[in-house]
């Protein structure tokens, strides 16, 4: 065991605890950014003027009429920006654009005494546009060769030779939709000008340091003049990694210009029409198998629909390429990636960050090819698993590949998969109008930011004279339970009861230069930084205790608020007393902690290296039942075994697995982003821009039986207290649902039917899939059938 991963006796980590704010959540006492407005005197409210065009030049903008609306205080335009008129880090996102790049793009903002005044003021602003041709679909962008950013290329082995020699070669095309984050809390910022010109921005942001940087460069201020605080977020999922910056900057600009607090909270329609989403992808592929069904070669081109600006599309695409292998050994591989530039919202980070898209391509290939190979898809997947001596296409050894098989075997056994698959087959024989399917899929997901520099974190730990502990770290709380885990880490390292530790909100003036709370890395990075800070304090206190107890400081142990030597004879001293003693001995009782992940290297140009500290593994089995009349379906049972290392907080981790799974299922089966692709006046407009039209999973989509287990004996040497990251990987366990739907649809057709399934696999998409299968089984030619509906 490494010093980082080893746990002391009686650790607080590993205990199943509810979320640290649970009692505040259930009573409504927990405060979110927009809840501060009523607690802030004199706040102004902001409302955007959204362009009704998908691509257009702004030929004139007259704010004057807005000032005739009672209660309008100020219209913010590009002329007001003292610094840089840009909301992104790539300098391709004008905060106040002169060229409208997507339907609903905000061209200016109105501040009012009330939200109603700001809304009416925005209606009064007169803007003239010169419409321009727009690219709406990724196919249109490909045809127009409209690309942006890097064109990564990942290659290993002799792909052409492998495909030439392969016993079976298949090729195909697959386009699948993106996903709206639909965090329940929309984007929100509240900006105030503090004493001495200091700008304080409360922001619902996963990346306070970057929000701070953008606010500073828009205002033309140094970073030390801007502080960003994030109390907590009402969900984020990647949607608040890059996207909050511009909104925070608008609020801050308004506050500096008016001298009053400015609140900017998007309503749902604004949020969904203006903020970026998960990238939809288009893919083409060619794959070769040997006679036993081993993949021998894969060639693919992935085109991510990046939307109007570059945003995080490059690292998203890099992660997609790095995950096209998922859990499978592909000896010869060549993947090209490109980012389409379309007139849509700027697509961005979303739980999995390109990984799900890359893996989906592979799982779709296996699901489509298994019947054509005549191999059971469960067996086809298992047969291609990585072994521990393999390396990924980018050259990283697949450490702990045996855990794939361990998860697989445990799911198969505890979920009684073999017996239930027989039952499914028997059910399907007896029911012509209802079919079931049971599929198993694996996940292997690389943990760390691909960009090595981001893999660092800081923390600040204070021990007060009364023995109480206050911790602060660079990570943000979005519901994932990071703060709960951090409290547990601090209590474990200091050897104090959990109640002695309190956590203060994330602020850029406490811990600077932080990375986004993203890439599932929040607990790994910040936990190690907190542990480092706590260890510094503990070592100083051990010196003091050694003196008091007459023992070597090396032999001092901290446990549950009691400090003792190794020998029972040495006696004990209470934590509070020790702290007080240390203070009077002028011992520093606070520390800044720091951590950087060792052993990472990555060459983005050649797409080679070891970008990940480790891989997280998991396996899911899902059983569905499909109605042949409608294509609607029910999720009967889900069994999951997932590898979280030695869990820091099991209740939190189970919650991440279940929640990630259901969110992934939403992406793959239900959530339906529909952009107007017609040539009509609404071309480019998002048609599903409300909760009434963009449907998230609700109680009716929850698996009827939902069993989640954590893989045992899963210690991870490379992470804090032996744990593993859990935020993103479980999302991809939901591939099992899509593959089960594919199997159920195939059961309507003759044996060996290969199903092409739309994504999302809505009831309509499933209906067309099963209807096609059914037609293949019917001797009489059916009516002309509609083409498979492709989403996105």
């Amino acid at each position: 065991m490494s010093a980082l991963s080893e746990r002391p006796e009686n650790p607080i980590v590993g205990i199943p605890l509810p979320h640290e704010s649970a009692a505040l959540h259930v009573t409504g006492e927990a405060l979110y950014t927009d809840d501060l407005v009523v607690r802030t005197a004199g706040a102004l409210h902001a409302w955007p003027v959204q362009a009704p065009h998908t691509h257009a030049l702004v030929t004139s903008l007259r704010p004057e009429p807005a000032y005739d609306v009672p209660g309008v205080v100020r219209v913010l335009t590009a002329a007001d920006v003292p610094g840089v008129n840009d909301a992104g880090i790539k300098h391709d996102e004008p905060l106040f654009p002169t060229e409208v790049m997507f339907h609903g793009h905000a061209v200016c903002w109105v501040l009012g005494e009330t939200l109603e005044a700001a809304r009416l003021g925005a209606e009064a602003v007169e803007v003239e546009y010169e419409p321009l041709p727009a690219l709406v679909t990724v196919q249109e962008a490909i045809a127009a060769e409209s690309f942006q950013g890097a064109r990564p290329h990942l290659e290993r082995g002799d792909v052409d030779g492998a495909l030439d020699d392969a016993a079976h070669v298949f090729e195909g095309e697959f386009e699948f939709a993106g996903q709206e984050h639909f965090y329940l809390e929309t984007h929100a910022s509240l900006a105030l000008v503090d004493e001495g010109g200091q700008v304080l921005v409360h922001s619902s942001t996963q990346h306070p340091s970057e929000t701070q940087e953008i606010v500073a460069h828009v205002l033309g201020l140094p970073s030390h003049a801007v502080t960003v605080q994030c109390l907590r977020m009402g969900g984020a999922f990647g949607g608040k990694e890059m996207q909050p910056h511009g909104y925070a900057a608008i609020a801050a600009l308004g506050a500096t210009l008016t001298g009053r607090p400015v609140r900017l909270r998007l309503n749902r329609t604004q949020d969904i029409t203006m903020s970026g989403k998960r990238h939809g992808f288009h893919s083409t592929w060619r794959v070769g198998f040997d006679d036993e069904g081993h993949v021998v070669g894969l060639e693919a081109t992935l085109t991510a629909d990046g939307g109007w600006s570059l945003d995080l599309s490059e690292p998203v695409l890099a992660r997609a390429l790095c995950h096209i292998d998922n859990a499978y050994w592909v000896p010869n591989v060549r993947v090209d990636g490109r980012i389409a530039r379309t007139n849509k919202t700027s697509q961005t980070a979303f739980r999995g960050f390109g990984g799900p898209q890359g893996m989906l391509v592979m799982e779709d290939i296996l699901g489509r090819c298994a019947p054509r190979l005549g191999i059971d898809p469960v067996e086809l997947r298992r047969r291609n698993f990585y072994k521990s001596h393999h390396t990924t296409p980018y050259g990283q050894p697949v450490r702990h590949a045996d855990r794939l098989q361990a998860c697989w075997d445990q799911v198969a056994e505890s979920g009684e998969v073999a017996r239930r698959r027989e039952e499914v087959a028997e059910f399907n024989r007896r029911h012509p109008h209802t079919k079931r399917g049971l599929a198993m899929t694996p996940v292997k997901f690389g943990i760390s930011f691909n960009l090595t520099a981001f893999n660092q974190a800081g923390a600040l730990v204070h021990v007060y004279k009364d023995g109480s502990v206050l911790i602060n770290h660079g990570g943000t709380e979005m519901g994932q339970g990071l703060h709960t885990k951090m409290l547990q880490v601090a209590a474990t390292t200091l050897g104090v009861p959990l109640e002695r530790v309190r956590l203060a909100p994330t602020r850029t003036d406490k811990v600077p230069n932080t990375s986004a709370t993203a890439a599932s890395s929040g607990a790994d990075l910040n936990g190690a930084a907190i542990k480092n800070a706590c260890e510094q304090i503990r070592e100083r206190l051990a010196q003091v205790a050694g003196g008091r107890l007459g023992t070597s400081p090396r032999d001092v142990r901290f446990d549950a608020g009691t400090v003792r030597g190794l020998s029972a004879a040495s006696g004990t001293i209470g934590w509070d007393e020790l702290v007080n003693t240390a203070y009077h001995q002028r011992v520093q009782l606070w520390a800044a902690g720091f951590y950087r992940t060792e052993g990472l290297h990555w060459d983005a140009a050649s797409m080679r290296g070891e970008p990940f500290k480790y891989f997280a593994y998991g396996v899911a089995a899902a059983e569905v039942e499909v109605d042949g009349f409608t294509g609607s379906y029910r999720l009967r049972q889900v069994d999951i075994v997932h590898d979280v290392g030695d869990s820091l907080s099991p209740l939190i981790d189970i919650g991440q697995i279940e929640g990630g799974f259901v969110q992934g299922m939403g992406w793959l089966t239900l959530e339906d982003l529909r952009w107007d692709t017609s040539d009509g006046p609404g071309r480019g407009r998002l048609a599903t821009q409300a909760a009434s039209t963009y449907k998230l999973p609700s109680f009716s989509e929850m698996p009827e039986v939902f069993r989640v287990a954590l893989l045992e004996k899963a210690h991870e040497e490379g992470a804090v207290y032996g744990s593993k990251a859990v935020g993103e990987p479980p999302l991809m366990l939901a591939f099992s649902v899509r593959e089960a739907l594919r199997e159920a649809a195939a059961a309507f057709g003759p044996a060996g039917t290969s199903i092409e399934l739309g994504c999302p696999a809505t009831p309509e998409a499933v209906f067309w899939a099963l209807d096609g299968a059914r037609a293949a089984a019917t001797p009489v030619p059916p009516d002309p059938e509609p083409a498979l509906v492709s989403a996105g």
């Binding site: 009692a23 959540h25 409504g28 809840d35 329940l184 029911h431 012509p432 039986v705 989640v708 209807d771």
Partner: protein, 510 residues
């Protein structure tokens, strides 16, 4: 009508001062610092704004009823009692519902949680809910979401993944969205609830009469919200103000206000008019008051109109059904309302009241165009009449992406009578395939007088597939809508075929 409007929030009576006619209950609460209720969608879809309102009960004098605070104008709550998550408990003294959700990992980001708490609290207090809680111990981090408790109480509804052994019906939470948890821990919390304690003040409140509706007039900046006391008074107001916007549960109008920025100069609330809140089940007609909510109708009919009993659980969410009225569902004239296809199949009639008197219009003649009807500006829908006896073979097929709380792409209501193996009478109502709800008359003709056999059904299904003029939109393609029409009758026959044997259609489609 001139007393100062007030509302009792978490036990404190508060004047409703300075509110606009369109001010929502949610905005009003949040501006008072009660920020537990959240805005997640502003259209009654996510439930983050759920609060409890004391309403006249069906099985108790008063019932705590969960509603979407984002849709209800606060002026509509003049004289009423409201409880928010803050009023149910505090972090140092949690309510049982709060306790179960908190300890089982039922909150992650916490933003939707106060809404879940209120919706679940309403179910916790629902009179008639009986049963025992799931045995404790599912909060141990194993994540085993299996429903393993078998019913040990008496008169307990069957227990499955949507119905707890404690009588909790998860449909109570069908209008609440959570993006974080995947719902399993919330289900476990719901099924772990026991009965309210003997000294529970909220339970005790239900035994007392509900707050009476209060005549209300709120006028600010030239816009008025008026709640008349009687039908006659309401009709006079409509004559005086042809521009009046009539609202009942405000589940449609609230969306217009919030999402489309509509503001009415004059709003007349009719949801508490006693003349519109009667329900009678006679010998030859069922009469349902237009201002009864879907929940009230569901509870008071108690399955006596089987076709409507199929509609209720598929109609929006419990939160919406608690506010939405049957008159409103007809009155908005939407082609995708859930009740019209079923009501058309039931040969429903609409009772329209005006100062000139009452008239009765068959629902089949009521709709004249997209959101247009024969109702004139000075008329109110007073009631819906269903002739008796009811046809014995019924079905309601709603096609949607999501099973709970979605809008249909296509809906079909059936009421058939099969005598001696022959279809004696057929009524089929359709939604989502034209500018108005409509009767599938050609399909009815293809069935009536013919034997209830697969051959008849296949022929009629082909006719049904051609009914209406379905469109392509974000909910479904036109071809899927037509296909669903065609499949629907096959599905009905499969469910209600003449033989009890499995799969009447087996030889054709498998």
């Amino acid at each position: 009508m001139s007393s100062t409007p007030t509302i009792t929030v978490n036990g404190d009576e508060v004047p409703l001062a300075g509110i606009a006619a369109h001010t929502t209950t949610l905005d009003w609460l949040r501006e008072r610092g009660l920020t537990g209720a959240k805005e997640g969608c502003a259209e009654g879809e996510c439930g983050a704004c759920s609060v409890l309102v004391a309403r006249p009960g069906t099985d108790a004098p008063t019932e705590w009823t969960a509603v979407n605070a984002c849709l209800v104008p606060v002026a509509a709550l003049d004289g009423q009692e409201l409880v928010t998550s803050e009023g149910l408990g505090t972090s140092s003294d949690l309510h049982p519902v709060q306790q179960e959700i908190a300890v089982r990992g039922g909150s992650q980001c916490g933003f939707c949680t106060p809404g879940f708490v209120c919706s679940l609290a309403a179910e916790f207090y629902r009179p008639g809910r009986t049963g025992d809680a799931t045995p404790a111990g599912t909060g141990d981090g194993t994540g085993d979401g299996t429903v393993n408790g078998t019913s040990r109480g008496t008169d307990v509804a069957p227990c499955d993944h949507e119905h707890g052994p404690n009588g909790v019906d998860l449909h109570a939470l069908s209008g609440n969205l959570c993006r974080c948890t995947g719902y399993r821990p919330i289900r476990d919390a719901a099924f772990a609830l026991g009965a309210p304690e003997a000294d529970d003040a909220f339970a005790a409140r239900q035994a007392e009469p509900p707050p009476a509706p209060r005549p209300t007039r709120v006028a600010v900046d030239g816009a008025e919200f008026v709640r008349p006391q009687s039908l006659a008074e309401a009709l006079d107001l409509l004559v005086a103000r042809p521009d009046a916007q009539v609202v009942a549960g405000s589940t449609d109008w609230g969306v217009e206000v919030n999402i489309r920025g509509r503001r009415a100069p004059y709003v007349v609330a009719v949801d508490r008019l006693p003349e519109l809140r009667e329900l009678s089940y006679g010998d030859d007609v069922v009469e349902i008051g237009a201002a009864l909510t879907l929940t009230e109708i569901e509870r008071r009919l108690a399955g006596r109109v089987p076709l409507l009993a199929e509609v209720f659980p598929q109609f929006a969410s419990r939160l919406i059904r608690n506010s939405a009225t049957i008159g409103g569902n007809i009155g908005t004239g939407s082609p995708i309302g859930d009740t019209p296809p079923a009501l058309l199949a039931l040969d429903a009639e609409v009772v329209l009241a005006s100062p000139r008197g009452e008239r009765v219009v068959p629902l089949a003649d009521y709709f004249t165009g997209y959101r247009q009807s024969v109702r004139s500006d000075d008329e109110l829908i007073k009631a819906v009449r269903l002739p008796l006896p009811l046809a014995p073979l019924v079905g309601f097929h709603k096609i949607a992406k999501r099973r709970f709380d979605d809008i249909s792409s296509v809906a079909v209501g059936y009421a058939l009578e099969v005598a001696d193996g022959v279809v004696a009478r057929a009524r089929i109502g359709l939604g989502g395939v034209a500018a108005t709800p409509l009767r599938a008359v050609a399909t009815e003709d293809a069935l009536v007088g013919r034997p209830w056999t697969e051959e008849t059904v296949r022929r009629a299904a082909a006719v049904l597939a051609g009914e209406g003029t379905p469109m392509d939109d974000h909910r479904a393609s036109a071809s899927y809508r037509s296909a669903m029409l065609g499949q629907s009758l096959l599905r009905l026959f499969h469910t209600h075929g003449p033989a009890d044997g499995p799969a009447p259609l087996q030889e054709v489609s498998a």
